[in-house]
């Protein structure tokens, strides 16, 4: 099938630095292949800007396979664009029509300061992980592989939660700028498994405390997050976090 080309107008967020005021900048792009990915379209725009001696658009990306969680922008008001369960790099220009105007903005939340253009500082999510998103493993001789039995359906649920790539779309889409879906997924993937039980209480409390400290908002159960999550993570994981935290807060003894 011969590939089609479309002409589009992009309105893209330009911001020189964290403290600078940003604004949308308009560019007309001609003959964009519908087979190209969204990021390739920005590559084309950047080539053109570079050739004209202008500053290219700064944006984050890495694997371009939808698994690393580096890319992400709000496209026409929706985090990661119009396709469900799709990262920005896996969004293709065939999702747009000829003469469409596409508004591209960075993920916004009080916890995600803008570094430049579409690049945001997501280290708030890293600090949440550092606060408790781990299990401590003591070294020693390895135990038998089947000592700890985990039912298949539990392993699957933990894996569904572990699919989170930490892209931050949940906080970007949340009317309250809260990454509760991220937190729910990260707590759930460990809370579901026996290995995660030892530190379960401390984990829930410390991770929530860190989220609050970084200026993220409070979950309002709007459910916007699960609708933009590129990995289709369910708010059932937020409910699990709510249970974990409630139990931990009232029963932790150290």
């Amino acid at each position: 099938m011969a590939s089609k080309t479309i002409n589009i107008i992009v309105k893209i967020w330009r911001q020189n630095g964290p403290l600078a005021t940003g604004a949308l900048e308009e560019h007309a792009l001609k003959d964009i292949s519908t087979d190209s990915s969204f990021l390739e379209m920005i590559d084309v725009l950047n080539e053109w800007l570079t050739r004209k001696g202008l500053e290219p658009i700064a944006f984050d990306h890495d694997c371009r396979e939808g698994i690393c969680g580096q890319c992400g922008a709000v496209v026409n008001g929706t985090a990661h664009g119009p396709e469900k369960e799709t990262t920005l790099c896996q969004l293709h220009m065939r999702s747009f029509k000829n003469n469409d105007t596409i508004v591209i903005e960075p993920f916004r939340s009080q916890g995600f300061p803008i570094i430049k253009d579409l690049i945001i500082d997501r280290s708030g999510l890293d600090r949440i992980i550092q606060a408790g998103g781990y299990v401590s493993v003591n070294t020693g001789s390895p135990q038998d592989g089947n000592t700890i039995l985990i039912p298949q359906h539990v392993a699957e649920q933990a894996m569904d939660a572990a699919a989170c790539i930490g892209c931050g779309a949940c906080a970007a889409a949340c009317p309250n700028g809260s990454p509760m879906l991220f937190l729910g997924a990260k707590v759930s993937q460990l809370a579901l498994l026996p290995q995660g039980q030892l530190e379960a209480k401390k984990r829930a409390i410390n991770m929530v405390m860190q989220m609050d400290k970084d200026g993220f908002g409070n979950c309002g159960n709007h459910r916007e997050c699960e609708n933009v999550c590129p990995k289709g993570i369910s708010i059932r994981n937020i409910a699990r976090l709510n249970r974990q935290y409630l139990r931990a807060a009232f029963t932790i003894d150290h």
Partner: protein
């Protein structure tokens, strides 16, 4: 007690407070709706119900103070959450579209909350604060107030906003308290909707029947 204060001040703690106080207020709303439905049995039944309530003696002020306290906690926590969340948004998007999930009800929770507070204050001034006597019973107050077109409108609007508020609130409080299970999600959602529908039916019917029947109901 420091752990308790720390929990209450955390984001999840504030949500638990909203959920628990919301649950209690919802419980009151249900009892209030059932009590109000005595109106459908006529003037005597309604006045008798009010009389029975007031003959509970010491329990009346205890219950009132408790209810006001719960209201106050719900309002103060709600205002704190509203202000914090507005700050946490970190700037508005030039273009905003819902990806699905948020509803009219969920987006307007703080605003419907304020409107309901105003409505409740009007409601208290109308019925709770005035002295009721043998000559002028609660039934007389109800007929007099709801017969006024301005109040008919205020009560209808107030009840509709209340329904909007609890249509998100009832489900939301279950999610906040972590009550979520694949087996029970759907039945629980249906039950919360049914409760909202029941209350809406009773409260709105009281207003409309009084207006339509030209007060022959009471």
């Amino acid at each position: 007690m420091s752990w308790f204060i720390q929990t209450c001040r955390s984001s999840l703690g504030k949500k638990y407070i909203m959920a628990l106080t919301g649950f209690m207020l919802g419980g009151f709303l249900l009892v209030h709706a059932i009590g109000n439905s005595t109106i459908f049995w006529g003037r005597e039944a309604f006045n008798a119900y009010a009389h029975h309530l007031h003959s509970l003696g010491i329990f009346v002020p205890i219950f009132e103070i408790g209810l006001y306290t719960i209201f106050l906690i719900h309002i103060v926590t709600g205002v704190i959450l509203f202000l914090e969340n507005r700050k946490s948004r970190g700037g508005k998007y030039e273009m905003e579209t819902s990806a699905g999930g948020s509803t009219w009800a969920s987006k307007t929770m703080p605003y419907t909350g304020v409107a309901i507070l105003v409505f409740i204050l009007i409601h208290l001034v109308n019925f709770s604060f005035p002295e009721k006597t043998e000559v002028k019973t609660i039934a007389d107050f109800v007929t007099q107030v709801l017969n006024n077109p301005v109040f008919t409108l205020i009560y209808t609007a107030g009840i509709v906003l209340l329904l909007l508020h609890i249509s998100h609130g009832f489900w939301s409080l279950l999610q906040t308290l972590g009550i979520s299970h694949p087996k029970y999600d759907f039945p629980l959602r249906v039950i919360t909707w049914a409760l909202v529908a029941f209350m809406g039916f009773v409260y709105l019917l009281v207003v409309f029947l009084l207006v339509i029947s030209q007060n022959h109901l009471l």
